[in-house]
């Protein structure tokens, strides 16, 4: 079957059976056809033999009549008395004719004869016959009698110089035809040479003429005529001594019944055969094909090793199938167990990795946030701190991406639909990159058309995708524009496109664009990135019901697009009011006791430092720490804190258990303080937000914590009042590419050479150090270079160095 392509076993067996049925039918049909032809031939031969016997019988009768007229002619005239004439009963009329064929004497005449003495037989067929008398001894052709217009056969004889003419009495022949026709069932007719039926064995058939030209051919069962409501096969004999053609009508009933019997037999046989084939096919289908198909359908589930999959019951009737299934099941079970073990190991690894990386990151980023709030830091210290913070966040993003991919693969990531402000989300995504675009000399545009304000969807994932795709576009576009286009494609469908004029992607690379950890040539040339971004974006879009597509022309740019169903919803648009940063707690508030629970001092310290840094004089926040859940419960009983920051994974007693106990104590002692328990966990992969909240925690925050998130919780839950900076820090004035290059060219040559070397090596540590060395001499240039270093944007450094080299050759 490879010649015609692969097919199913069911179709193939059906094809074979139909083919064999068709062949069998053809063979049987040919056999029946030959059998029928043979039977028909034999039947017609028998009828032909009947006709020959009729000829013989009539010929013998007519011979007697001829002898009778000869005897009459030999009689002397005197002996031809009426009594004697009555003896010549074979003739109804006897004449003596003269030479002009006129009637000289009438010896015998029919009662209603219109022939008289003097009547001349000088016209028509009879005259022609009489002219030939003497040359042969034949009878005339059958014709209408001159006497009474009745069918007649004449016989003339010359004797003693006289011409005698006798008209045969055909009543005997008519009677014979009638009797023969009646008893044989095959009507006989005497037909004149011009086709007129002169005598018929069955007058009720009302056959007046026979088309001799048509019917004189060899009789054939397929050539029939209809008469008397029946079908007949005409068989015409040649003109014999009687002077007429004998037509025999052979009824087709016998042949029809034979044919019908054979056809019914054939049909019954074929019907039985078809029934047998159908039953056989159904049995094979049920016993072999269906189990195989069913087994094949369950294979993917088994292959995935899903715990819900149940192996198909081994109920096969055939040992071979049962054996095959048992062996495959055994292999599949082993494979499934191995896959499940691997999956479990992977999950545990990811959980541990997440926890182990987030724990130090918590300390790093926590202290970075604490330090960044110190107004005493000089610029160099602050920039160093920014580098620490940025590197930590980069590492955190990487971990988050890996975890997201793992969640998606494990089917644990779900879409959370809620109303959100689509236009605001688009604007926010665009604004996220506006500063960077400006710094890189790119035009970032946002195009929206016919968008509903409020829609229902997963805003978090959509923002993640847009930021990811815009970040990619910014990364691979050195000049030109990056466009975020969002438009309504249908009633509830929104189309998103991110279009850039960047380096583009080769056609052969488009296919592996969305594979995790796969990078294109341009991606590999660019620094930074793990190759997870597009894969994650595609998975997220797919999760939201869309399909991320990429179109690109190398050297001209790329276009990433997807559509999502985001039904418009009622609701008010959110207003993004960016509040100034928090600088401290408002003085004069009631004291708030804060218990920090974590088994690692390095995790407790930054949080305590962050919150302590907010304290006014006299302090509002008081702190105690606990290294495990049991200690936390003990402290709570003793100290009654308003806020508990609870790590979830601790020795001795876990955070969940400690939370449950504290909540139980709170329930048992209504007079005690109502503590707000904030879960802090580094294991976001295993500890889902819902599970953590279910154990009694009031809030949930991930480690590394974000200061603003914790402040918001304290403000919302505990009612602490914070002081904010009077206004946001002013952004540095943007510089054009020419200004940047001019300023860079003005720096010391040694410094520039060191920067060029660091850029060529891609050594961002060295680049950061060099940028820090710029100090306050050129804060504008320093700010831009620091941002590029933060973005790991080697291309921007290389382009700037190239332009600065151009300025160097110019007279100052």
């Amino acid at each position: 079957m490879t010649l015609f392509g692969r097919t199913t076993f069911w179709r193939y067996t059906l094809f074979l059976e139909i083919g064999s049925l068709t062949l069998t039918t053809a063979i049987l049909f040919v056999a029946v056809w030959f059998t029928l032809a043979g039977m028909n031939g034999k039947y017609l031969d028998l009828r032909r033999a009947d006709a020959a016997r009729v000829h013989l019988f009539l010929a013998s009768h007519l011979d007697a009549a001829r002898e009778s007229l000869a005897a009459f002619a030999a009689l002397p005239e005197g002996e031809r008395s009426p009594a004697v004439l009555n003896l010549f009963s074979a003739f109804s009329d006897i004449y003596q004719l003269d030479s002009r064929l006129g009637v000289q004497r009438i010896y015998k005449a029919a009662s209603d004869s219109k022939v008289f003495v003097g009547y001349a037989f000088s016209g028509g067929k009879l005259a022609g016959y009489l002219a030939s008398v003497g040359t042969h001894n034949d009878l005339s052709e059958i014709m209408r009698g001159h006497e009474d217009d009745a069918p007649s056969v004449y016989f003339a004889i010359r004797a003693a110089g006289q011409l005698y003419l006798g008209r045969l009495d055909l009543s005997y022949v008519q009677n014979f035809l009638t009797q023969f026709s009646r008893f044989s069932g095959t009507p006989l007719m005497l037909v004149a040479s011009d086709g007129f039926v002169m005598l018929s064995g069955d007058p009720a058939l009302h056959i007046a003429t026979v088309d001799l030209k048509r019917w004189q051919e060899t009789p054939n069962p397929h050539r029939t005529l209809s008469a008397g409501g029946r079908r007949w096969i005409p068989m015409i004999s040649g003109v014999d001594t009687i002077g007429a053609k004998i037509a025999i009508l052979i009824p087709t009933e016998l042949l029809d019944s034979q044919r019908n019997a054979l056809l019914i037999l054939l049909a019954a046989f074929m019907g039985g055969l078809i029934l047998l084939v159908v039953i056989r096919h159904r049995r094979i289908n049920r016993l072999i094909v269906e189990p195989i198909v069913s087994f094949a359908a369950k294979m993917p589930v088994l292959e995935q090793g899903l715990p819900s999959s149940t192996p198909p019951a081994n109920t096969y009737q055939f040992e071979e199938l049962a054996s095959i299934q048992s062996r495959i099941l055994e292999a599949m079970t082993q494979a499934r167990d191995a896959a499940q073990s691997a999956s479990q190991a992977k999950s545990e690894f990811l959980a541990n990795m997440s926890h182990e990386i987030r724990t130090p990151l918590n300390a790093i980023l926590g202290f970075a946030q604490v330090l960044s709030r110190d107004p005493q830091l000089n610029l160099t210290q602050r920039e160093s701190l920014c580098t620490i913070k940025r590197s930590g966040e980069h590492l955190l993003n990487l971990i988050n991406d890996i975890l997201d991919m793992a969640k998606i693969e494990a089917g644990r990531m779900a879409v959370k639909t809620a109303p959100f402000d689509l236009i605001a989300l688009v604007a926010e995504s665009q604004a996220f990159f506006s500063q960077r675009a400006h710094e890189r000399g790119l035009v970032l545009t946002g195009e929206t058309s016919m968008l509903p304000r409020m829609v229902s969807g997963d805003a978090v994932k959509l923002r993640q995708v847009l930021i990811n795709l815009l970040g990619n576009a910014m990364k691979f576009t050195t000049a030109g524009t990056v466009t975020l286009r969002v438009e309504a494609a249908a009633a509830e469908t929104i189309a998103f496109s991110i279009i850039d004029t960047g380096v583009g992607i080769a056609p052969q690379e488009i296919e592996r664009l969305f594979k995790p950890f796969g990078q294109t040539a341009s991606g590999r040339e660019a620094t930074g990135g793990t190759g997870l971004g597009l894969a994650l974006s595609q998975q997220l879009v797919h999760l939201m019901g869309g399909e991320l597509r990429a179109q690109s022309t190398p050297g001209q740019g790329s276009r990433f697009s997807f559509t999502l169903v985001l039904p418009p919803t009622a609701g008010e648009a959110t207003v993004d009011l960016t509040e100034p940063p928090i600088v401290g707690l408002a003085p004069g508030q009631p004291v708030c006791r804060v218990l920090i629970v974590d088994d690692l001092p390095d995790n407790r310290a930054p949080l305590r430092a962050l919150l302590t840094g907010l304290n006014p004089q006299p302090p509002v926040l008081e702190f105690q720490e606990a290294a495990d859940g049991a200690a936390a419960v003990a402290v709570w009983e003793r100290w009654q804190p308003q806020v508990v920051f609870m790590d979830m994974r601790m020795p001795v007693m876990s955070g969940e258990e400690a939370t449950r106990r504290i909540k139980a104590l709170m329930a048992a002692r209504p007079q005690t303080v109502r503590s707000t328990i904030v879960a802090l966990t580094a294991s976001v992969f295993t500890d889902s937000r819902d599970e953590v909240l279910a154990c009694g925690c009031d809030e949930f925050a991930c480690k590394p914590f974000r200061a603003e998130e914790l402040f918001a919780i304290l403000e919302r839950r505990v009612g602490l009042r914070f002081m904010r900076a009077s206004a946001p820090p002013a952004a540095a004035l943007p510089l054009s590419d020419e200004q940047l290059a001019e300023r860079l060219a003005a720096l010391p040559a040694g410094w520039r050479a060191a920067l060029r070397e660091a850029v060529n090596l891609g050594d961002f540590g060295r680049i950061g150090t060099l940028v820090t060395q710029l100090g306050q001499d050129d804060s504008g240039l320093r700010t831009v270079l620091a941002q590029w270093a933060y973005d790991f944007d080697l291309d921007a450094f290389a382009a700037l160095i190239g332009r600065a080299d151009g300025f160097e050759g110019l007279p100052s």
Binding site: K114, F121, H206
Partner: protein, 363 residues
């Protein structure tokens, strides 16, 4: 999606094929009943059916499908036979029966349920009626007047007229018209003897015919062979006297039984001699070549009637009302065997030809 497109394309192809088939399929056949004595086992009856067969063979694209209707030329059987055919959906007929059969069935064609073209019934009772009975032969009055005027040109003063009583709807008005016309011409004395031609007995009529006559007129139709015997008996008694027949004796059977009297027979005819009309001669030759015998003259009318119907059908007129409108719409319709001009009531007027060399004509 691909399967849907394929199914849609298949449906479109099937629908287009059906529409094309409906547009291009030949129009349905129309049954035409040929009413006659079909089981006569003689030239009569056989000739009409064979003429119809020949027409169909020579006009394979014609919508006409011939349906035999056997009334055995018996008036009591004509109307039931036609009514039975009508009940089976036959709405057009061509008839060759004599006047008595036509008169008995003319009521069936009073309304547009059916239309009949008659080729042999000349009774004046059928003349001048606005119905669906058309006739392509002149009526007996025209016919007999023409014969009387011809007789008046013959020498002599005493003529024996033998009137066939077996078909009185024809022979009665015919004799009246003949006698009136001949008397008006004033020269001939008519000796009128009614008889049943099929029961003609020479012994009985020999004394009658033996009287002095200058001519014999056998007023009989239906192509009866005994007409020849009667002519031969008269000729035997009056060898020089002319013998006139009606147009409805033009049959080869007359040639068989008339013997030497054939030389004195004068045959009136609504068609010219085949030797003067190549189209009719060719028709008879084709017929003889196909069926092996010489048909009687009525088949000319049958052929013309089928041609008229075929012309109407081919123009889309396929109901009796439309065909009647078509037949009356033109002053003259051309057929391959001569023109036919209907008057307002579907009758025709004819020129009569008197054929004397009958042996040559019927050979």
């Amino acid at each position: 999606m691909k399967k849907r497109v394929l199914w849609a394309a298949l449906l479109v192809v099937v629908a287009a094929s059906l529409l094309l088939w409906r547009a291009l399929r030949p129009p349905p056949p129309i049954p035409v009943g040929v009413v006659g004595w079909l089981a006569a086992a003689a030239v009569v009856g056989s000739s009409e059916m064979n003429a119809a067969d020949l027409f169909r063979e020579e006009h394979p694209r014609s919508r006409i499908r011939v349906r035999p209707v056997d009334d055995q030329w018996q008036p009591e059987k004509t109307a039931p036979a036609i009514a039975a055919a009508m009940s089976e959906g036959v709405r057009f007929f061509v008839s060759t029966h004599p006047s008595n059969c036509a008169v008995a069935s003319i009521h069936l064609f009073a309304d547009p349920r059916a239309l009949l073209i008659n080729t042999a019934s000349t009774s004046p009772a059928l003349t001048g009626q606005d119905d669906y009975f058309f006739r392509i032969v002149a009526d007996a009055v025209q016919e007999q007047r023409a014969i009387a005027r011809y007789v008046d040109r013959l020498p002599g003063t005493r003529i024996l007229v033998l009137q066939d009583e077996s078909n009185l709807p024809y022979t009665d008005p015919a004799f009246q018209a003949f006698a009136t016309e001949l008397h008006s011409l004033g020269r001939w004395q008519i000796v009128h003897r009614p008889l049943m031609v099929p029961k003609f007995k020479p012994d009985e009529f020999a004394p009658i015919m033996a009287q002095p006559y200058d001519a014999l007129y056998i007023l009989a139709g239906s192509f009866q062979a005994a007409i020849g015997n009667m002519a031969q008996l008269f000729h035997h008694l009056h060898p020089a006297a002319p013998i006139l027949l009606t147009p409805w004796a033009r049959s080869p059977a007359i040639l068989e039984t008339a013997g030497p009297a054939i030389e004195r027979i004068i045959l009136p005819s609504q068609y010219p001699s085949r030797h003067d009309d190549p189209a009719i001669d060719a028709y008879f030759r084709r017929f003889h070549a196909r069926f092996g015998y010489e048909p009687h003259a009525m088949t000319i009318g049958v052929w013309q009637a089928l041609e008229l119907l075929d012309q109407a059908f081919s123009r889309g007129y396929d109901t009796p009302a439309k065909v009647k409108q078509y037949l009356l719409s033109a002053p003259t319709h051309q057929t391959s065997l001569g023109p036919i001009a209907f008057d307002a009531t579907g009758d025709v007027s004819r020129t009569f030809y008197f054929i004397q060399d009958l042996q040559k004509e019927l050979q």
